[in-house]
Amino acid sequence: MKPEINQSLGEANMARRSFLRYAGASAATVAVMGVAASCKKDRGVTVDGTIDIGSGDIGILNYAYALEQLEAAFYLQVIATPYSGISSIETSYLTDIRDHEVLHRDFFKAALGTSAIIGLTTDFSSINFSDRTSVLSAAKLLEDTGVTAYDGAGYLIKDAGYLTIAGKIVSVEARHAALISNLLVAGSFAASDQVDANGLNKAASIKDVLAGANGFLKTKVSASKF
């Protein structure tokens, strides 16, 4: 993809966000207009290549499934091509995390059944898998994003059972996030980049999370109903 196309994508998204915020039109209207705007502006980018998570609790579960797919793919690569100088305990930690993320991915796929979105194609070209700092920095970004994503989307879940499952996973993601952070900088497990002055972890909206996650995805994911 050329940079200028990315730029126009960004503008289109920005325009849509502004529109949402200030015009107060119904979500359905905005979604239709958003797609129309994308068609017009994003020449060369096929609209049907983007995967939408859907609506309601299924949408939230697919959102989680998308993020777990991304994390699983990342750690599969990390373990397949370990960075130089990796220690045995780091291998143990990262192998465990890989197994957790693969299981989260497979769990969501099984739980969603026919409602599951397709398998996503990732793009990790920005990561140097032979370099410890590059790998752990990307891991930190993915884990921190996972935590803010679950924290930020929890209130949208309507079914108590699904909320509990999301809760069961988010604390494991937070355990990962803290470990990765500590591997990068000892003692940074709850540093101010992720935890505010009230001792609350940051939370993020679906749109903000996907904007970041899409940077690691060839198959782009959208959330038009949220």
Partner: protein, 283 residues
């Protein structure tokens, strides 16, 4: 009660409070115009209606109960770390960055929860009387050396953190759909999990427990992965390998260790209180 304080407090966890309350945010921000339309005596009622409209069905009393339960746990943790940090010679220099940060977080959790409870018109519970040996005020519980032996101090810390994670998780359904309070509770929950991860890593790094990992690796028969048998109750249920009707081992081929570590399990309020009251919290 001051409307600005309440809205400011909520705005910390919900930046869109104004839009939620009223799309014409200027009308809400302008206390004069609001006040002129609502008699002063009717203010609490008007506020209640406003929050109900903005945040859905959960009753304020139920939310305050959850918050006071959380506050009790935070008092316990904050008191524990505060005493640990103030005990000369307990936390070595290398541990200060870890234990100091956790102490600070637990302390601001107390302040934050007290503030939110007051904002919602509730009364924060007072701090419980505690016995960190687990001896119900006799000082002779299972951990008599908790403030003289760093190894024991960190083991108790780990159990407190893991239990805190489970306790917050158990309260989530009671806050279903409540954007402000649920999001805040989930956010504290995540920080407790960060602490648990850090304490576990610290215990590994110091060679206190080379089997420990930042996550809870149970077997199919024993949730507790700490090797401290007296804490079995704190980990009871972590051995669960079925999530949402999917058996992670038989259906997805995960090992017991991976299946249990990938999902942290909740505890109910009654379970948590049974674990703490009469031992760490004096009854």
């Amino acid at each position: 009660m001051n409307l600005f304080e309440i809205v400011d407090e909520i705005e910390k966890v919900d930046p869109e409070i104004y839009d939620r309350l009223n799309p014409r945010r200027a009308a809400i921000k302008n206390i004069t115009s609001f006040g002129s339309k609502v008699a002063f005596a009717a203010m609490p009622f008007a506020l209640g209606t406003m929050f109900k409209k903005a945040y859905g069905q959960t009753s304020t009393a139920g939310v305050i109960d959850v918050l006071n339960f959380a506050l009790t746990l935070e008092y316990l943790e904050a008191g524990f770390y505060d005493k640990g940090m103030k005990t000369a010679g307990l936390v070595p220099a290398a541990g200060q960055a870890y234990v100091g940060k956790i102490t600070q977080d637990e302390s601001v959790h107390v302040t934050f929860l007290q503030g939110v409870i007051k904002s919602l018109g509730g009364t924060p519970v007072t701090a419980p009387t505690v016995d960190f040996t687990g001896g119900n005020n006799k000082g002779n519980g299972p951990f008599p050396t908790v403030f003289s032996d760093y190894k024991i101090f960190l083991a108790v810390a780990q159990v407190f953190e893991d239990t805190g994670v489970r306790a917050y998780k158990g309260q989530a359904p009671a806050l279903l759909g409540n954007q402000v309070v649920l999001t805040a509770a989930l956010s504290i929950h995540a920080v407790e999990a960060r602490h648990a991860s850090a304490v576990r890593k610290l215990r590994y790094d110091l060679g206190y427990d080379l089997n420990t990992r930042p996550w809870i690796r149970s077997t199919t028969t024993l949730g507790n992965d700490t090797g401290v048998a007296v804490a079995n109750g704190n980990y009871a249920g972590e051995e669960n390998v079925t999530q949402g009707g999917v058996n992670l081992m038989t259906a997805l081929g995960a090992s017991a260790s991976v299946a249990t570590a990938s999902f942290d399990e909740p505890l109910t309020k009654d379970q948590v209180l049974a674990l703490l009251v009469g031992s760490f919290i004096v009854s």
